[in-house]
Structures are given as structure tokens and as C-alpha cells.
Amino acid sequence: MTEQLVALCDASAVSEDTPVQAKLAGEELCVYLHDGAYYVTQDLCTHGPGYLSEGFVEGCEVECPFHQGKFNFITGEATAAPCTDKLRTWKTTVQDGKIWINPAEHAA
């Protein structure tokens, strides 16, 4: 299992206010910190060209900087208009000060 994991970024780079963009096989992902746990979603908003890593975090929701639609970044569910489609999410593992995910969880 561990061999399949890929490191995205240093855990210390992520704060509650400021999610961080990470790249994986050409796709941008977004890493969040909430209540001591790390979460990963696709970075590109499902509504349009906004990147959630530039967005505004409140609790377990991220607001897209483009039209201020919102998602729950734990479940990926869209929680405020204009967003309707879910974000893809990945389970995270923290090891050696880094955030790891298994890319196979979602085919690219």
C-alpha cells in the first residue's frame, strides 16, 4: 500500500487559512488543514476556472475565489451556488512531515 502513496507537499506549508496547491501528474490538487487533519481535493472548481487553493476557507468549507461558490472539502459536496458538482477528494496520510495520497483513488 505505502508504495502507491505519493507526497504532495510539506505539512508545515498548509495552514487553516491558507490551503496549498500541489501538482500530481499534471493536475492541480488542493491541500487543506482543518482541526488538525489534512484533506485533499481537486484544485479546479467544478463550476469554472477558479482555483480553490486561492480561495477562502471557513470551517470545513472552501469558497472559490472566482464566483464565491462553496464546497465542503471533507466530502467534496458543493454547498453554495453556483457550484453543483462534487469535487473529487483523496484520503491523506501524514508521514515524515509530508502529506501523501494514493493517486489510484481517482483515475486521472
Binding site: G55, F56, P65, Q68, A81, T84
Partner: protein, 409 residues
């Protein structure tokens, strides 16, 4: 069962219906729209639709299948011509009548026409609908001369798109600065310089006397005697609220249909939302009529929730954006010409924020390529947090930390 009728199938109309269904309203819904299209978002009409050489994607509020799945009766390509509050009926242009129990007026705005001789020249294009944008697209070409009348957001976005295709562009503006209604002078002047640097012939303080010339080659005659020959003319001189139905039905109007904080008009069974409303903003303590995407969406949601039995007050700090030459500008609060100004970052490189303060309160912020910081500024305005010019100017002080400070007792 309560029958909800929505007049106006624009962004507000579409969002109202989505929110009615999303908040448990299961009764019949009818959507009446003068355009033949399902609700779509207009911001791309002066941006991506003109910039992308390939056929651009349309931002539908909801895909066609959604309306069928949610049992919405559509009356598209139909203008509502009369509202009778006594019988609670609406008459359509084809003379059919529809009864309502609750009505939402989401009729938006219509572009102000050029009130000069020749203002109706066939190459004069206002950008409000998909068709307008489609009509303008072919003129976005190297051998065109686009003359933009009115240096507002839409006109300048069209100018930027035309320049990106290599067209010659002249912008004519009556006022001494661009975007005078929407942004402070500091930003207006910065954008005047930006457009000039990009090769736009921007003429401020300029009056037009009339337009004539062949159908395919309009000639614009300026008050100073100059004549310009254009391939197409973009007319962006503002919009007027589509309030005639309301006025004729005796609803209170005042440059917009007057609603309360629940998006309700002077008739409790009639709500209104979007560009067409004049509404109180309880956070700012003033009445506003906004022409913005945020207001169209969220006021419509508030109206829908109130109809669905979830009492909802519409109270938001205004927020707007404009994209020109790949620079994202966002505006929040109420810009003024008299506030104290502080900058963070470097506006001249289009990376930073301009803050406006009145006393210790932030009243407006304009962010250039700084969406996240702007969002914190919006929170600071909303929470009325006391700020100092020094901390706003100092990039070492994070705006999120200021936003976290509790409101003073």
C-alpha cells in the same frame, strides 16, 4: 398548491427556480422569458465569448434536462405584457393569461440606447444577450476598427478582447475617467493607462454628435468635428431597469422595483430579484440597485427561500469583478471619491489592493489579481473591524489575521 410564476429567465430567474426546488418547494413553477434561451450567465458575453477564437461554451445556470426533471413549465420566447394584481394574472404577448399565487419579477435591465441621430445604426451593438455577443464576435479581427462608446466595464472588456485579436480600438467616453461609476479615480486612471499601453485610443471628455455612413461602415462624428470610421460600434452606456410591468401594476418603483430585505415588493405576493430591484442593504444602511452577478444570484435565492417558507434576509457586502487583459479586478464595498486610500502591493504591476477607509472603518477594497486578500477585505468590511492605514499597507500583516479580530464592543 401554490403556483409560483417567475418573469424573466435570466440569471436571477434561473437561480430563483433552482433555489425553490432546492429548498423543498414542490408546487408548480412557471418560468416566463422573453429570450428564447434557458437562463444563462452574462459575464462571459464580454469576456470569454469575445476572446476565444473557438466557439465558446455557454454558462447555463442549469442544463436543459434539469428543468424537465424538476417539473418546470417553460414559456420561453414570450414577453409578459401585463400584470394584473387584482386577478393575480399575467398576460403574455400571445394573449394567453397565466395565474399565479406568488410571483417573482426577475426582469433585469435593458441597455440604454444611444440617444443621438444614427444611434440605431445597424453596426451599433449593445452587449446584453448571447445574440449580441455572437453578432460582435466576427468583428474581433485584425482588420477591424472597433469603436467603443462608453468606458464602463463592459465597453472596456470588449476593447481588451478586440485588442487581443489585433483590432484597432478607439474608446470614447464623456467623463474624465473610465469606469467612473464603479471604481475610484486611482483605479480608473490606472486602467486608462493600461488600455493606452495596450494600444487603445482612449478619448476621455469626448462627446459624440451623430452617426451616419453605409450599413457596413458607420461613421462616428464627434462634437469637436473629428470623424471616425468603424467596422463595428460597441455601445456600453449603461442599463435601465425593466420595471414597466411593475409600474403599470402600481407596485412601488424608484429607478428599480422597490423591495424590502426579504426581496418582497409592496405587494406581499410579489417578489423581485436581481438587477431590477432597489433594495435596502442592512449592512451598509443604504438603498442600492446593483448590476452584479452576486446580487442576481443571492437575492434570487433569498426571494425563493422566503416563498419556500424559510424566512431569509438578504444582506451582503456588494462584490463585483471585471477581467481585462488577463487581469482580474475585484471590487467589494462601496467605492467613493472622498475616502482615504491605502495600497498594499504594487498596483502599477496589477498585483495588489487599494483600500478605502472612512475613519477607522474599511468601506471598499479593489483587488488586482488578489482574489483571496479581497475576500478577507470583504469580511473586514462586513464585521466593521477597526483598521489602521499602516497595517493595511503592510504586507507582513496578514489580512486574514485582521479579519479574525473581533468587532469592537
Amino acid at each position: 398548491m401554490t403556483h409560483v410564476v417567475v418573469i424573466g429567465a435570466g440569471q436571477a430567474g434561473g437561480r430563483a427556480i433552482e433555489a425553490l426546488r432546492g429548498n423543498g418547494f414542490t408546487g408548480p413553477i412557471t418560468l416566463i422569458g422573453a429570450e428564447t434561451h434557458l437562463p444563462y450567465e452574462r459575464p462571459p458575453l464580454s469576456k470569454e465569448m469575445l476572446l476565444d477564437p473557438a466557439s465558446p461554451k455557454i454558462d447555463w445556470v442549469r442544463p436543459a434536462a434539469w428543468y424537465a426533471e424538476h417539473n418546470i413549465t417553460l414559456k420561453l420566447g414570450q414577453t409578459a405584457t401585463k400584470l394584473d394584481r387584482g386577478t393575480k394574472t399575467i398576460t403574455l404577448q400571445d394573449s394567453t393569461t397565466i395565474s399565479y399565487d406568488k410571483l417573482i419579477l426577475a426582469t433585469g435591465t435593458t441597455p440604454r440606447k444611444l440617444a443621438i441621430p444614427g444611434g440605431d445604426h445597424p453596426r451599433c451593438i449593445c452587449i446584453r444577450t448571447l445574440e449580441d455577443s455572437e453578432k460582435l464576435r466576427p468583428f474581433m479581427a485584425q482588420d477591424s476598427h472597433i469603436v467603443v462608446i462608453g468606458a464602463g466595464f463592459i465597453g472596456l472588456e470588449a476593447a481588451a478582447a478586440a485588442r487581443s485579436h489585433g483590432a484597432a480600438v478607439t474608446v470614447l467616453e464623456m467623463a474624465p475617467r473610465p469606469m467612473g461609476r464603479g471604481v475610484p479615480a486611482t483605479i480608473g486612471e490606472l486602467y486608462a493607462q493600461l488600455h493606452r499601453n495596450k494600444g487603445v485610443d482612449l478619448r476621455l471628455n469626448t462627446q459624440i454628435s451623430h452617426i451616419d455612413g453605409p450599413d457596413t461602415e458607420p461613421q462616428i462624428h464627434l462634437a469637436d468635428g473629428t470623424t471616425l470610421t468603424a467596422t463595428a460600434i460597441v455601445v456600453g452606456i449603461g442599463v435601465l431597469p425593466e420595471q414597466d410591468l411593475a409600474t403599470q401594476a402600481g407596485l412601488e418603483t424608484n429607478n428599480g422595483i422597490v423591495v424590502n430585505t426579504h426581496a418582497q415588493t409592496s405587494d406581499p405576493d410579489i417578489y423581485a430579484a436581481g438587477d431590477v430591484t432597489r433594495h435596502p442593504n442592512p449592512l451598509l444602511g443604504c438603498d442600492l440597485r446593483l448590476e452584479s452577478w452576486q446580487n442576481a444570484q443571492n437575492q434570487a435565492i433569498a426571494a425563493a427561500k422566503n416563498i419556500a417558507g424559510i424566512p431569509t434576509t438578504y444582506a451582503e457586502i456588494p462584490w463585483f469583478w471585471s477581467d481585462q487583459y488577463g487581469i482580474n479586478m475585484q471590487i467589494t464595498g462601496l467605492p467613493s471619491d472622498t475616502a482615504t486610500e491605502v495600497t498594499r502591493g504594487d498596483l502599477s504591476t496589477f498585483q495588489g489592493l487599494l483600500f478605502q477607509l472612512t475613519g477607522a472603518k474599511l468601506t471598499a477594497a479593489i483587488g488586482l489579481n488578489s482574489p483571496r486578500d479581497l475576500r478577507f477585505a470583504k469580511n473586514i468590511i462586513q464585521a466593521q473591524i477597526d483598521v489602521t492605514p499602516d497595517e493595511l499597507a503592510n504586507p507582513a500583516v496578514k489580512l486574514q489575521d485582521i479579519a479574525k479580530r473581533a468587532r469592537p464592543a
